[in-house]
């Protein structure tokens, strides 16, 4: 794992794209297929489930050192990560473990799953003893199920495409779906022999993703060359019907067929050799339910009858990628839409209810679109998707043909009340904040947020927190209410589960309002008014 350790260490530290590609290249040019397959497995975000809980690792590590628990906890708070803290506290070893990555994973890691605790302990300690810090860090993260490499799928694909001299989308496609990290898989991945079966029946196409529009609309040119659709807030998915079988894939490359039985069932009525791209939405009596409702269905393996009745789902279809078993992604968007609408038209009434085509919103000018977009909140959509009529279906995130045009978020001025140290890049600094608004003369916590500040601001706020701590509860500190921040949300709703009575979606810090005092912060009443104005216009 020497080469892999170098790869991880270098990838982990640099944030330059070019440097990352060089480091990846260096690795994949040298690693043999057995090791490369595992490296690729980890780099694409896959990881073994937890084998040993971190609590056990901590217990065994403490027994090897003379460090009391309180000091371990202090160390952990500074480091921000348990697996790393253990790697740093174990007795020093500067020798490098030369065991190949595949052997480490297959012979020393995976067999420990479900093994006797004593055996686990002995094996873990044996491994620790022969590894240096960097290797222990990787090992601890792997064994506790928290391993993650800071590299995008796109960069890995780009590197493999360069090495294999294959087009990027072939690599992307070969990497999609379920695969095992075997040397055969890796060899096949980089092999330039294109199998007749390059599209195995289960596999989805890489999704075409859009950027938020960040320039004046007029720059898009003639409004007649574009189609606008409402942008729904659901789960992006591809529904595949091939060789009599149905597969539903999420954008995160998870196979989610079983989570949405009503769609899977209806999809059996699609013509064979069809791939739809769309948004799974919770839909009842002709209109969308909130994303919160959909969340009740996410993460559950089996869906009970009650939930199925309360939160039924449909697919808002916006594109057709495969028709009569032919990849039609190169067709113009308007042509794909035309065929899509024909296919959906021919379905029986019941199936039609599940597969609805996204409405194309008409307007004569960008100005008119801008006016229509203002009604997004009422319609429970996030804004518009703009798509060029003549565009092909591309691979990945692409600028030019598809644009997200989301409505501006809700904003609230809130007071910093609690803080906690961050993890990862933000470890050791207080970066996780809880915010409050006024209610009857008191500050009531209502949202947590951590992104949106610059490094410099983070350090200033961190310093403020240290100097203005009122109380400490474990890792959380309460601070003197003094700082005001403008927060943005995608949605606000009434909630019985939250103390404040409201739940916010995607809270983030827009800016630090150094110009405001806590008296200027908003109140719960303001938030309720926001929710109500939204509901009234909705009726």
């Amino acid at each position: 794992m020497k080469l892999f350790t170098e790869l991880y260490t270098e990838l982990d530290q640099t944030n330059k794209t070019n440097e990352k590609v060089e480091v990846l290249r260096f690795y994949f040019e040298r690693a043999n297929a057995e090791n490369a397959a595992w490296a690729l497995y980890f780099l694409s975000g896959r990881k073994p489930r937890q084998i040993v809980p971190s609590k056990k690792l901590r217990e065994w590590a403490l027994a090897l050192t003379d460090i009391p628990e309180w000091l371990f906890d202090e160390s952990r708070d500074t480091v921000g990560d348990g697996a790393e803290t253990i790697a740093l506290l174990l007795p020093n070893n500067f020798e490098i473990d030369e065991t190949p990555l595949h052997e480490l994973v297959e012979k020393r890691l995976l067999p420990l799953r479900g093994a006797d605790e004593e055996i686990q302990r002995e094996e873990v300690i044996k491994s620790w003893n022969q590894m240096n810090y960097a290797q222990r860090l990787i090992y601890n993260k792997l064994i506790s199920g928290s391993f993650r490499v800071g590299v995008s799928q796109q960069l890995v694909t780009r590197t493999l495409s360069e090495i294999s001299e294959l087009p990027k989308d072939i690599i992307t496609q070969r990497l999609m779906g379920a695969w095992e990290p075997t040397p055969e898989f890796y060899q096949q991945l980089v092999s330039n022999e294109l199998g007749a079966d390059e599209t195995p029946i289960a596999r989805p196409y890489p999704f075409h993703l859009a950027h938020q529009i960040d320039f004046p609309l007029d720059d898009l040119g003639d409004v007649q060359e574009w189609q606008a659709e409402w942008k729904w807030d659901g789960i992006r998915a591809q529904v595949i019907k091939r060789a009599g079988q149905v597969f539903i894939w999420s954008r995160g490359e998870d196979l989610i067929t079983e989570r949405f039985p009503e769609i899977a069932f209806a999809a059996e009525n699609l013509p064979d050799g069809t791939v739809l791209d769309g948004e799974i939405l919770p839909w009842l009596d002709g209109s969308a339910l909130s994303f919160n409702e959909l969340q009740r269905r996410i993460g559950r393996k089996t869906i009970g009858a009650k939930l199925l009745a309360e939160v039924p789902v449909i697919l808002q279809c916006y594109d057709l990628l495969e028709f009569e078993s032919t990849d039609i992604r190169a067709f113009e968007f308007q042509e794909r839409r035309r065929i899509l609408s024909e296919i959906l038209d021919e379905l029986d009434t019941k199936t039609k209810k599940v597969f609805q085509i996204t409405e194309s919103v008409e307007a004569a000018s960008w100005k008119e679109f801008a006016e229509k977009r203002e009604t997004s909140r009422t319609l429970k959509v996030e804004g518009f998707m703009l798509k060029r009529l003549a565009s092909p279906y591309r691979v990945g995130r692409h600028r030019g043909d598809w644009w997200k045009w989301k409505v501006d978020p809700y904003t609230i001025d809130a007071v910093l009340l609690y803080a906690q140290k961050g993890t990862g890049k933000r470890s050791g600094l207080f970066t996780d904040y809880t915010f409050a608004v006024w209610s009857g003369g008191e500050l009531v916590p209502f949202a947590k947020a951590y992104s949106g500040l610059t490094d410099r601001e983070i350090r200033k706020v961190d310093k403020f927190i240290r100097e203005n701590t009122k109380e400490t509860f474990g890792p959380v500190r309460s601070v003197t209410p003094k700082l005001v921040f403008e927060l943005a949300f995608e949605a606000i709703q009434k909630s019985k589960r939250h103390k404040s009575g409201v739940a916010v979606r995607f809270p983030r810090i827009l800016r630090w309002r150094e110009d405001k005092t806590i008296k200027d912060a908003d109140s719960l009443e303001t938030i309720h008014a926001l929710i109500e104005s939204h509901e009234t216009t909705n009726e």
Partner: protein, 340 residues
């Protein structure tokens, strides 16, 4: 019961019997300095006493007008009946611990120190005392240094690999001490070394003091940018992210600091590589140094103060916090030029 020979005041550590301050941060009549880092060496004092071995560095920091007297390591002086002497602290060139003795009571103010061998300065010398004032910049057990040879292997390999990839290597290291340690330990056969202006001046003072350093060229004196190809640039951390770096074209950046032990700190620093190289004692060195003094009371001035104090007390020592305005404080580690 011991008297309080040395006390913390709002201007710095103060010895009333001898009427002198140690590393004061506000102007005073007489200042004794442990070393020339900015948070221990402030301008504006009426007179200074510094270790002889660090006088060139002190002169650069304090300016031509400053009234500076020097004292050699181990040399004894009396100030109003208080016996004082400087002893090597192993921190940077000319860094010292100050031993203060009056009527059978001995105090040692250690300033900043380390025990890791360092060819650019005299090694730390343990001095027995009743009261030991220590730093705790790295007073957590996660901070344990990797042997310097291994770190230099890493730096050398990084430089070579950058060369192969057609990149200039830029290493950020604090301009007094760390930069010269990097220069002293690096494999000089790999290529040409250039320095930032802030580093160059202090490096010259090191050379004049007899420290073995490779040949370096001042970046500002280079006219043809092609001369930088394959070279190593040594620059202060303040140059990170600045337009000054543009002249080097494609480059990889590294940062030499004890903070680089922790992954979060490495990633936050936005450099390509972190190298664990510190001028301060690590966790184990702190224990070793403190025990070697046989002190009855240990005062902890900066860094992880409550953590080290609690640990020492739980391990049979008598330790107390003594919060001075020296940096190395966790929350400020990004802002200070010290130990970067």
């Amino acid at each position: 019961m011991k008297s309080e020979l040395i006390k913390l005041t709002d201007k710095g550590l103060y010895c009333k019997k001898g009427d002198f301050y140690i590393d004061p941060w506000l102007p005073v009549k007489k200042a004794l300095l442990t070393h020339a880092h900015a948070d221990h060496t402030y301008r504006g004092n009426q007179s200074y006493l510094v270790p002889e071995e660090g006088k060139r560095l002190s002169r650069i920091r304090l300016g031509d007008e400053a009234v500076i007297e020097t004292s050699k390591y181990g040399e004894t002086q009396y100030i109003d009946g208080v016996k004082i002497s400087f002893h090597p602290a192993g921190h940077v060139l000319g860094s010292a611990q100050l031993r203060v003795e009056y009527k059978d009571e001995i105090w040692v103010v250690s300033g900043d120190y380390k025990l890791t061998p360092d060819a650019t300065c005299a090694p730390f010398e343990a001095v027995r005392c009743h009261n030991f004032i220590t730093e705790a910049t790295f007073g957590l057990p996660i901070y344990r240094w990797t042997p310097t040879e291994i770190i230099f292997e890493e730096i050398n390999q990084w430089w070579r690999r950058n060369q192969e990839r057609g990149k200039v290597s830029v290493i950020f290291a604090y301009s007094l001490g760390k930069a010269q340690r990097v220069l002293n330990g690096i494999d000089r056969s790999i290529g040409q070394i250039f320095t930032h202006g802030a580093v160059e001046r202090l490096t010259e003072a090191y050379r004049e003091s007899g420290v073995d350093l490779p040949e370096t060229k001042y970046v500002g004196a280079v006219e043809n940018k092609k001369d930088f190809a394959g070279s190593l640039i040594v620059a202060p951390p303040s140059a990170a992210g600045s337009i000054w770096l543009r002249r080097f074209g494609a480059h990889s950046s590294g940062f030499a600091s004890g903070w680089m032990v922790v992954r979060g700190a490495r990633r936050r620093k936005a450099v390509d590589r972190g190298f664990v190289l510190s001028d301060h004692a690590d966790w184990e060195e702190l224990q070793t140094a403190i025990r070697a003094t046989s002190a009855e009371t240990v005062f902890v001035t900066h860094g992880f103060i409550p953590e080290l104090v609690r640990w020492l007390n739980e391990n049979g020592m008598n330790a107390k916090p003594l919060k001075a305005q020296y940096v190395g404080e966790e929350g400020e580690l990004e802002e200070t030029g010290h130990e970067h």
